[in-house]
Amino acid sequence: MISQQITQAFQVFRMELDDHNERRERLIKASRDITNLSKKVIFLLHRLVMEESTGGKDTDPEDVIRHAGAKGRQKLTEVQNLYSGLKRELEGDRFWRYERQVSPGLQEYIEALSLSHFMEHGTLITYDQVQQTLSDSSGAPHFLLPVYDYLLGLSDLTGELMRFAISGIGRRGGRAKANTICRFVRSCKADFDRFTPYIRDLAKKQAVTVQSLEKIEDAVYAVAVRTSEYDVPPELMDDIVALSVSN
């Protein structure tokens, strides 16, 4: 009977669709976990800098930041382990099949990783360096990192750098750091501009980057105006203020 054939065919379809939907659900959950872990690392990085900066005059602010970056990088091994566990779910042509589910977590991870990297080394993490963190011990990648996710993840970095610069501006050495970050974000913006015609969402993110950059510029400007008025070297200014508000 015809009917029987159709039933059997649809039973096969059901299995395939259920299998796909279940894998999709698993990857959505995994991506959500990765996103949350990465977000927490970003919070942690901001927090570490803030807490340890209160250590007093003897700690070098650069050391504090480097130390925070290293701690963040270590914490991100948790995310790397998750990706290593997903290797089978994403092998072969599956990565691209589930790219839409995987992409948000991946970009958030790259945002966190690049922030740790910047804090630790003061540079932009490269594509190969990111790919390396997504590979097993023998260097075989769990999946090929798409350039898009790399660039989109990096372009979120500038927002975090803005937060980092502005909330640090009142701390010892924060003014100099804000200047460094201002230059760094300006060059990120220029570099990424090249890629906007290739990646649609990047233009939107670049607009956010410009906003972040202007916020940093405004903050750096405010410091410059004040320093000019009082004609006191920045580091001395820090100390005078620290004397007024010691906590």
């Binding site: 015809i2 039933t7 379809f13 059901r14 395939e16 072969g92 042509d93 099949r97 790219e99 594509y127």
Partner: protein
Amino acid sequence: MDSATLDQLNELLDSDVTLREKIKDEVAELDKKTRIMAGTLNKIHSTPPDLILNLLDVVRPTITSCRDNMVNLAAIIPPNQFWRWKDMWSNSLRASIFSAALVEYLSNRTLITLPQVCEILGIDDSWKDRLTLPVEDYLHGIISLVNELSRLAINSVTMGNFEEPLKISVFVKDIFAGFSMLNLKNDLLRRRFDSLKYDIKKIEEVVYDVSLRKLAPTSTSTTS
């Protein structure tokens, strides 16, 4: 970023752009064919039953010629990137599946199977990671088939063919029962399946009109 990195990224992005252009051209070709097939098959609504087979014979070579486009596509897609690019051709592919399924139904009164579609369109099993025929696309093609058959049920009666709706009704109810077994997510396929209910209802009304007026010989044969 140093200029080596910039160059590397640029190269990667450039190659995607070129690839996209190539796929686009090939899909435009395929698309043209699906439009020609749809144009010819559209005539079933005004063709008397005895001339339908001739009409199908006109369409068949065009369906078969889609194989060239499939071969070309399979040659350009890089390994493992099937899912990355498939959205570019899935509409055209679904249109081809629809044509193949309609020809099959009108020729043999059977539902074309997924492997049959692959064979007709020349989609090779060994291309799996570059070009394959996903269940979703097959199901979309089948839903389009039902949409078309509900119109055919109406127009057959207008042309004085009162048995066609009864045949269509039996066929379509089977398909509907098949779809009911699937756990569809809240996506396009689900919405199109919901729309199937209207087609079924419309066909049932035609069968009702024909049965009520005793216009077809064996209306009792529709109980399954």
